[in-house]
């Protein structure tokens, strides 16, 4: 056997090792009820902001405490606590991806990714001085 072949086999072996170890590095998308069953592990949860509850953030009191209610994809609403400042425009987010874990009755988020509809795709037509009211007949 040539050395090159040994190296080749070595590379393949390491590659397989990486593929196998990915199994432990992946996180999974969960919802609140499934995350509650697996405490002590980090997950990602996709959901939308529960607008029936107020956001809790008071920079004067504690600039590193932000809490809100999130509705997961199964429709369950749960309190989320994020130790950081409130992302600006949070109220307008369309969907929210959280990373973190359950801590008792709340979800402790270490990372928040918001998707705002207008953020990168700004195809909203803002027309100055134009209203949908038929004020001017088209023929004139």
């Amino acid at each position: 056997m040539k050395k090159v072949h040994i190296i080749g086999l070595g590379i393949i072996a390491v590659a397989i090792g990486i593929i196998i170890s990915t199994a432990s590095d992946y996180s999974t998308y969960e919802n609140f009820s499934s995350a509650k069953l697996k405490t002590g592990k980090d997950f990602q949860i996709v959901g939308t902001l529960d607008t029936t509850h107020a956001l809790e953030y008071d920079a004067v009191k504690d600039p590193n405490y932000f809490s809100f209610m999130l509705i997961d994809k199964k429709g369950e609403s749960c309190k989320v606590v994020f130790h950081g400042s409130k992302p600006q425009d949070f109220e307008r987010s369309e969907s929210i991806v959280l990373t973190g874990r359950m801590k008792g009755d709340y979800f402790s988020a270490s990372h928040i990714l918001m998707k705002c509809p207008s953020k990168y795709k700004n195809d909203e037509l803002n027309v100055e001085g134009y209203q949908e009211v038929e004020a001017v007949p088209e023929e004139s």
Binding site: V4, Y26, S27, K61, P87, S118, E128
Partner: protein
């Protein structure tokens, strides 16, 4: 229907140019194909002539597209969707280029432009033998990219997306487009994403796309070599191109890192974001290919892997294009392009080039010559090969993890588990890539001490021992000083110092000042310095904006990393590490809002001794569409950076909150006192005001001010001066306000008979002016930039050396 003021010729011209570029590239490729297949030199030459003519047509068409698009943007022709969605009237001139390539179409155009430039150089330099087959591959790729801009419907399938579509064609549903005069309502565009209004956005994309485009050269040569079955003749021609590509591509990637560090708020220069990874992977493979190619040149080994690496480089560039432009990254990356519904097209593009490349390589694998005798362990080529293998593994791991969104659907249907990217990407990637870095650092320095084919081992060991001893000493000192204890950190520290010392030793004692040969050692030394900078700046990075306000003394007290945003009331001196920071005010220069923060560096033992004072202006745009967009401000030192950015600002209340009935009337004389719920106010003087910042006074105006001294129950005192302005016969009271106390003062009447004035005071909710900010110290981050610059310089020194050798070869 004819629409008023709509300018239609640029759209028609642009679309014609796109179609011309597409067809001429395709036909040029056909002509080159016929030429390459022909054995007769005269036929070859005549077909080459045709192909070159078509190339010229293509080049003119590309310049035409660029000019037309530039015209549309710079003339603010908002009837065109591209101009409307990427630019606005307020956009400064220097960002016109930035909005040119903000969209997918514009960036494809940039890529085509570079391909055209590189192709033109190749026509002149490739030579008789290689011109036709290499340019054939080039023009096929060019036609494929041009097809991305077509935007033509073939039956139900739309091919590409044109930058020349009209706004009314894109937004068919909007009723406004039923009107002939619709354009008179569209006065402004959507504007450039504020995050991208940055000079980096002007320089980073052209360099990166030149890097992307240049990887096509080794790919085209490798394909041509496999096709023409000349497996070795292409190496000499492609060598300078690969060095050029490695330098430019690397610069482009790290410019992205510098941009992220300087003006985004990641808090670092590399976050293992899918978009970053997608461009890093092809570069790693390219670097592997450059090394195996050098091994081949000197010894005849590693030719097959050279083919594999160069083919893979471009394929991975295509794959990265697919990842970032198809919208597949969706949830996982914040800065991929918007989905234009082109993923099918992109997959076709990827397969159309990957499959033929792989088939050609497999068919010829056995025919590509490899020496009978295998590499000796004590030879440079052997360790180069090992190093290339490690780079391959590194690229494999990054690709596998970055591609999770691509195959998560498959995993879901197989196992029912919805997999997601790692929750802590930086730690996860580092756990694989740090050991890779250690190995590469060690190999890249000791391989230089080995000779090609066979080395004198005794001398090698002696040198290695000397270098290792120096390195161990240096490692011990830095680890102790820098408080580095983790085994991985220590290994990386040792490896980067080993690389720095070994490469410097090599340059100064073995090459003994032969500057022209410095290339490889310089590039490796740069990598060593870079990794040392990465290690120290990230391992010893520390947040100094630690907040203790409002923190209960329970569990959270111990988690320092949870308090990294500091609350800074205006004019309050807050401790931040060795500094005291004071938020002293804000100012606006549209569209940016600057927060002025005074930093005072104090003596560690005696905080009353101030060593240094400076002001940082972290700024933010409060954008109606995107909310707060924060831009960091950084204080650079030789040995560290203090990096700050604003994370929250109070939402400013409107003046209108004070309602009429809330004002309480007070008729007072000079020296009298008024009591409010939180303070007492003394009228110090009533006098005529001739100059004031609040209102503009013209001749004939009479302006009276009441000087008020306000003493709150606690804290420092304030001054207020409401004005009574008689302008053009009308009396206008101009209010003054103390936000911190929530007091609004109005000088309502002047009562000369009683020698009194009427001061009305309204009390509103006190509004505190504050910012919440983050400040991080990055020690020795300059090593990162220095390392990159040296590494790129190393590529250029090698490139220079190749040209010099060629000159000598030609002249002799």
């Amino acid at each position: 229907m004819v629409f008023e003021n709509e300018l239609s010729w640029p759209g028609i011209a642009g679309q014609l140019f796109v179609i011309t570029a597409f067809i001429s590239s395709l036909v040029s490729a056909v002509a080159y194909f016929i030429s390459a297949q022909s054995k007769d030199e005269i036929i070859q030459q005549s077909w080459n002539k045709i192909a070159r003519m078509l190339f010229t047509v293509q080049a003119i068409a590309i310049v035409g597209i660029i000019y037309t698009l530039y015209f549309i943007i710079s003339e603010h022709r908002f009837e065109y969707h591209y101009a409307w969605s990427h630019s606005s009237m307020q956009l400064p001139m220097e960002y016109l280029l930035a909005c040119f390539w903000e969209g997918q179409e514009g960036s494809f155009l940039l890529w085509m432009f570079w391909n055209m430039v590189l192709g033109a150089v190749l026509i002149f330099r490739a030579g008789k033998k290689w011109e036709a087959p290499v340019l054939f591959v080039f023009m096929i790729v060019q036609a494929l990219i041009a097809s991305m801009l077509l935007g033509i419907h073939f039956w139900d399938y739309k091919v590409g997306s044109t930058p020349f579509s009209l706004l009314r064609e894109v937004m068919i549903e909007a009723p406004i487009f039923q009107r002939v005069d619709y354009l008179s309502f569209i006065k402004n565009g959507n504007g450039l994403n504020p995050l991208l209004q940055n000079y980096w956005m002007v320089i980073h994309p052209p360099v990166l796309f030149l890097g992307f485009a240049s990887t096509l050269v080794p790919f085209a040569y490798a394909m041509a070599a496999l096709w023409k079955k000349d497996f070795t003749g292409w190496i000499d021609s492609v060598l300078p191109w690969t060095l050029f590509s490695g330098a430019l591509f690397g610069t482009g990637i790290m410019m992205g890192g510098a941009w992220a560090y300087e003006s985004l708020t990641f808090g670092g220069f590399w976050a293992w974001d899918p978009v970053e990874n997608a461009s890093l992977v092809p570069w790693l493979i390219l670097v592997g290919g450059i090394h195996t190619m050098l091994a081949f040149k000197k010894t005849g080994h590693s030719l097959r892997s050279t083919f594999l690496f160069f083919l893979l480089t471009f394929i991975l560039v295509l794959y990265s294009t697919f990842l970032t432009r198809s919208g597949i990254l969706g949830d996982t990356s914040v800065h991929a392009f918007t989905d234009l519904g082109m993923s099918g097209h992109l997959i076709f593009y990827l397969i159309a080039l990957t499959v033929p490349a792989m088939i050609l390589l497999i068919l010829n694998w056995k025919k590509i010559q490899a020496p009978e005798k295998e590499e000796a362990m004590a030879s440079r080529e052997f360790w180069i090969f090992v190093g290339a293998g490690i780079l391959f593994i590194s690229a494999f791991q990054i690709t596998l993890y970055t591609s999770i969104p691509v195959y998560k659907g498959l995993i879901h249907s197989l196992t029912g588990v919805e997999i997601a990217p790692p929750t802590e990407p930086i730690q996860t990637y580092n756990s694989y890539q740090l050991p890779v870095a250690v190995l590469i650092l060690l190999l890249s320095s000791l391989a230089l001490y080995l000779k090609f084919r066979k080395s004198e081992m005794k001398q090698f060991y002696r040198r290695m021992i000397v270098i290792s001893i120096i390195t161990i000493l240096a490692t011990a000192i830095i680890a102790w000083k820098g408080d580095l204890t983790y085994p991985t950190y220590l290994a990386l520290l040792f490896a980067s110092l080993f690389s720095i010392i070994a490469n410097m030793y090599y340059m100064f004692t073995i090459l003994k000042g032969k500057h022209r040969l410095y290339g490889p050692a310089l590039a490796h030394l740069g990598f060593g310095i870079f990794m040392l900078g990465v290690l120290i700046s990230s391992a010893n990075k520390h947040t100094i904006s630690l907040n203790y306000r409002g923190v209960d003394y329970g569990e959270r007290m111990n988690n320092l990393e949870l308090h990294t945003n500091q609350f800074m009331p205006k004019n309050s001196r807050e401790r931040m590490g060795n500094y005291f920071a004071t938020y002293i005010g804000d100012s606006t220069s549209e569209p940016n809002h600057y927060y002025k923060v005074l930093f005072e560096r104090v003596n560690i033992w005696d905080s009353s001794v101030v060593h240094e004072k400076f002001i940082l202006y972290p700024n933010a745009q409060i954008n109606p569409k995107m909310g707060l967009i924060s831009n960091p401000a950084t204080r650079h030192y030789w040995t560290r950076d203090v990096y700050t950015h604003v994370t929250t600002v109070p939402e400013k209340n409107n003046e209108a909150t004070a309602q009429e009935e809330k004002f309480k009337e007070h008729k007072i004389a000079k020296g009298d006192t008024i009591f409010t719920s939180n303070s007492y106010v003394i009228l110090e003087a009533v006098e005529q005001v001739t100059k004031t910042d609040i209102v503009k006074l013209v001749k004939g105006d009479l302006c009276i001010g009441a000087k008020l001294h306000v003493y709150p129950m606690t804290g420092k005192d304030y001054f207020a001066e409401p004005l009574y302005l008689i302008q053009g016969g009308a009396a206008i009271p101009v209010n003054d306000k103390i936000n911190e106390l929530g007091l609004i003062f109005r000088l309502t009447k002047i009562l000369p008979e009683e020698n009194k004035v009427q001061i009305d005071i309204a009390e509103v909710k006190p509004e505190q002016d504050y910012i919440v900010m983050k400040a991080i110290v990055f020690p020795y981050i300059n090593l990162v930039w220095l390392g990159i610059i040296m590494c790129v310089a190393g590529f250029f020194v090698s490139l220079f050396r190749v040209f010099q050798k060629k000159k000598i070869a030609v002249s002799s």
